[in-house]
């Protein structure tokens, strides 16, 4: 299954797809997209890389176990919900910066929540897929 073409392509596709996934994540608030789909796209990027170069090399490339993204994402999401509590607002109350940031657009707590979702989805998907494929190869 390992072809030169796919291998070479995947090396270029990986950063592109990752960039695309971030794009999807950020545009989610105004146009179709969001953390969930973005996370899935990012996972596909890594899965494609693993298909082309073998699971080992993707794992080496990642350095850390993809599962590590789960607690990071959960923490970000939870924090974005908890932070409004500090200023006396209800849990998960959305709050925004007044002016839009260039490129990204409006920045607010829901965006951070979505970023958390993004990481959790990447972590979950890659953990499941990598675990199953490792077991299958044994």
């Amino acid at each position: 299954m390992r072809t030169i073409i796919l291998k070479t392509a995947s090396n270029y596709l990986l950063p592109l797809l990752l960039l695309f996934s971030v794009f999807i994540l950020l545009r989610g608030h105004y146009q179709p997209g969001g953390g969930f789909v973005g996370g899935l796209v990012a996972s596909i990027a890594f899965v494609l890389h693993a298909f082309a170069n073998g699971l080992k090399s993707t794992q080496e490339f990642l350095r850390y176990h993809p599962g590590i993204a789960i607690p990071i994402g959960l923490t970000i999401s939870l924090l974005s919900g908890v932070l409004p509590l500090l200023s006396g607002l209800p849990f998960m109350k959305g709050s925004w910066f007044k002016d839009p940031v260039p490129v990204i657009g409006m920045v607010g707590s829901p965006l951070f929540f979505d970023i958390g979702v993004f990481f959790v989805v990447i972590g979950v998907t890659l953990t499941i897929l990598f675990t199953i494929s490792e077991t299958a190869q044994e």
């Binding site: 989610g28 179709p32 969001g34 789960i70 607010g108 829901p110 958390g116 897929l129």
Partner: protein, 770 residues
């Protein structure tokens, strides 16, 4: 009061961390807790005896109207004093009884937890908190019965006790919820004012049945009595504390507590009278034919509990006074008898009364304690039991309709109980000391002093009833009966029928004691008709259920994914089809269809071909790939119908699913067609009917008037409130953000599940144990 109730739990929790420092002699220190609480509750006596109630509260779950509200009236206080007073003696006793046991800290943890829950139970004003504490007593009792967890019998009996009392707890909860619904309040004190409303309500019989079921299971009334003799597997201090003096009286407490609310009703009185009478006679009969010390005491406890239920069922003023006194009388003498039995068991290792004799020569203080308790139990004049028995006879005689029969039942029960008490409290100490026990020596005071104190207390209250008359008993009667009653306790009532009955009881009891020796013969006889006992019937029933569930599980949960899918689809189909063909008029409104576009026709055509390939191919990889094609086509349809978010997600998910399939394919065995034609036809029929059913429903939806309220709300507010233009995403991260948060947690759990299932395999060695 909150601190008093919770202190038991706090100690239990602290013991998890500091338990190891209390395994040695320091375990005596635990008895300081019940002692302090006893003094605290004693200090309440003056206030309560003047007719007031003390209360304190803490708002706990306001949205459910569940509050930690506690109040102490006469009834609560009597129980609180019993719980802490006897608790103190039992704690003291246990620290010596279990000396050197490696888990003694654990034992005291359970015991403190029990004490806390029991206090909470009797002091709660809110019925739901009462229920929580009620269940906590069952749970702590479970741990205490099964304390000796190496013993299979212990484990079995603790489970039995939990099953019976816990099952009763469910009924109690149902009863309380109905009570709250009918009365509109969860506070017991407020319910007291609503007695007429509740009794007049059509749900009253249900409330009665549920509450009484809870009380009967807890207080071991026939036919649920059998868990109590089984519970005697617990260490003896536990039997003395939980299974005679306090926990089993929780049911009695409940009945007494709700007498002013539910009582004085034909159903209430009849139920309690009949069950109470059956229990007291049945158990008294069992008590006299047993030879094991603790068995005798267990059955006589059941009998006494029956007597209390019976008295509350009589419901007259005299009967309620008698019940109030008898609760105290019984707690004092029965705890003393248990503690005595515990010492005998501890020192000689034998509990068979046919083998015990002459122990007074070596265990004199224990003998005095036991004898005093047995005398109080017998109702010999100048003991507290005498007062109790007189009041019972007065109550039954005063009852008009069946007074004679009730009196007869009470007399017979009392004769049997007297015999049982003598066998347990006096017989082991009389006669010649067998050689085997020559070396038995008196244990430390912590073991014999509690029983002696309780015995002396019984004598003291018998001689000076005025000490507790106004201060303790009358507030109890006030709480149960609802009005102040003035019948001072007297030692001497003059020559009347009551005295005559007392004399008959005592004489007959003595005759029994002198002429009938306990022997194993009777127990063997009972063993033959064991299959008729409620316990056997119940456990056979439980066996049948177990068999059924094994069969059921093996049939429906056989581990093949195809079967699970089939069952789920089939069931869903049955439900939907039933609903569709009974309540819905099916017609298809073709006017709402818009014209087919070329794209749609093409995509559907591709889908159809892909499905055919999936079904017909003999290569797994092809099947998976064509399934992926079906999924992509679906995404296209979503795009056509302007659901881009859905399409994107579906698209990525589909990709990943195909990848997942391909990854697993290596693992699967080569593709072999297992299914024969019949199976294939069956599956095709199921699949086709499911598909058509869903199509029909989808078409039917068009006919329904659409409620657009929700989508309009989100459409209008998504930018205004959440500053987002993509409604789907705004709903996900803002409006229903909480749902999403929970969903990502679920995802996490799924990932952990997959990871741990696949990575941490059980090695062959471990597998043997499973």
């Amino acid at each position: 009061m909150i601190v008093a109730v919770l202190s038991g739990f706090i100690v239990a929790i602290l013991l998890i961390f500091f338990g190891k420092y209390f395994r040695g002699k320091a375990s005596v220190a635990f008895s300081a807790l019940p002692l302090a609480l006893f003094v605290y509750f004693l200090s309440m006596v003056p206030v309560v005896s003047s007719g007031n109630t003390l209360s304190s509260g803490l708002r706990w779950i306001p949205s459910l109207n569940v509050h930690l509200n506690f109040f102490a009236d006469g009834l609560s206080l009597l129980f609180a004093l019993l719980i802490t007073g006897i608790g103190f003696l039992v704690f003291l006793y246990a620290s010596n009884y279990l000396k050197g046991h490696i888990y003694i800290d654990r034992f005291f943890g359970y015991l403190s937890m029990f004490m806390g829950s029991m206090l909470g139970l009797v002091l709660s004003d809110n019925v739901l908190t009462l229920f929580i504490f009620w269940e906590l007593t069952s749970i702590s009792s479970f741990f205490l019965i099964g304390f000796d967890n190496d013993n299979e019998e212990s484990r079995k009996n603790s489970l039995l006790a939990l099953a019976i009392t816990g099952g009763g707890g469910f009924f109690l909860l149902a009863g309380f919820i109905l009570l709250g619904y009918v009365g509109g309040t969860l506070s017991i004190q407020e319910m007291l004012q609503l007695s007429e409303v509740i009794k007049g309500h059509q749900l009253y019989p249900w409330i009665l049945a549920f509450v009484v079921a809870g009380a009967f299971t807890k207080s071991a009334q026939f036919p649920f009595h059998f868990w109590l003799p089984g519970a005697m597997k617990a260490p003896t201090p536990v039997s003395a504390y939980l299974h005679s003096a306090t926990m089993v009286k929780a049911g009695i407490y409940l009945l007494a507590r709700f007498t002013p609310v539910l009582g004085s009703h034909y159903y209430w009185n009849t139920t309690l009278l009949i069950i109470g009478a059956i229990t007291m006679l049945y158990a008294a009969f069992h008590a006299i034919i047993r030879t094991d010390l603790k068995s005798i005491l267990a059955y006589s406890t059941v009998s006494a509990l029956g007597m209390l239920t019976f008295l509350i069922g009589l419901g007259t003023k005299e009967a309620l006074i008698a019940a109030s006194v008898f609760i105290l009388v019984h707690a004092l003498y029965k705890a003393a008898l248990f503690l005595t039995a515990g010492v005998i068991d501890h020192e000689t290792g034998i509990r068979d009364v046919t083998k015990l004799a002459g122990l007074r020569k070596v265990l004199l203080p224990v003998a005095i304690g036991g004898t005093l308790a047995a005398l109080s139990n017998a109702g010999i004049p100048f003991t507290f039991g005498f007062l109790g028995k007189d009041l019972i006879y007065e109550a039954t005689l005063a009852f008009e309709d069946f007074g004679i029969w009730f009196t007869a039942a009470a007399v017979i029960t009392n004769i049997f109980l007297l015999y049982a008490g003598f066998i347990a409290g006096i017989k082991p100490f009389t006669g010649k000391l067998p050689v085997a026990y020559k070396d038995v020596h008196l244990p430390s005071a912590a073991l014999w002093l509690p029983a002696l104190l309780l015995g002396v207390a019984g004598l003291f209250f018998g001689v000076f009833p005025a000490v507790i008359d106004k201060s303790i008993i009358q507030p109890v009667v006030l709480a149960i009966h609802g009005s102040a009653v003035d019948i001072p306790l007297k030692i001497w009532h003059g020559f009347n029928k009551v005295l005559l009955l007392s004399i008959i009881t005592i004489t007959a009891g003595f005759f029994l004691f002198y002429f009938i020796n306990p022997s194993n013969r009777y127990v063997k006889f009972i063993g033959k008709i064991d299959f008729l006992s409620p316990q056997q019937i119940l456990s056979n029933g439980a066996y049948k259920i177990q068999h059924f569930s094994t069969w059921y599980t093996k049939t429906l949960q056989n581990g093949y994914l195809r079967l699970y899918v089939m069952v789920i689809v089939f069931f869903l189909m049955a439900l939907l089809a039933y609903k569709l063909f009974t309540g819905v008029y099916i017609y298809i409104d073709s006017s709402q269809f818009h014209e087919l576009t070329l794209y749609e026709v093409m995509v559907t055509g591709i889908m159809f071909i892909a499905i055919l390939i999936t079904v017909l191919t003999s290569s797994r990889l092809t099947a998976v790939a064509s399934m992926g094609v079906v999924g992509y086509c679906l995404c296209l349809l979503f795009v056509f119908y302007s659901a881009p978010d859905l399409a994107m997600t579906q698209f990525t998910i589909d990709t990943l699913t195909v990848v997942l399939f391909v990854l697993v394919l290596f693992k699967l065995p080569p593709f072999i067609s297992f299914a024969n034609t019949a199976v294939k036809i069956r599956d095709a029929v199921i699949a086709l009917s499911f598909g058509s059913l869903i199509s029909i429903i989808a078409l039917e939806v068009l006919n329904e008037t659409v409620e657009k309220e929700t989508s309009i709300f989100y459409g209008e507010n998504s930018y205004a409130l959440a500053k987002g233009k993509n409604i789907v995403n705004v709903i996900l991260v803002d409006f229903r953000g909480m749902d999403t948060l929970v969903e990502i947690i679920v995802l996490t759990i799924a990932a952990i599940g997959v990871f741990s299932l696949l990575k941490f395999k059980i090695s062959a060695n471990e597998n043997d144990h499973v």
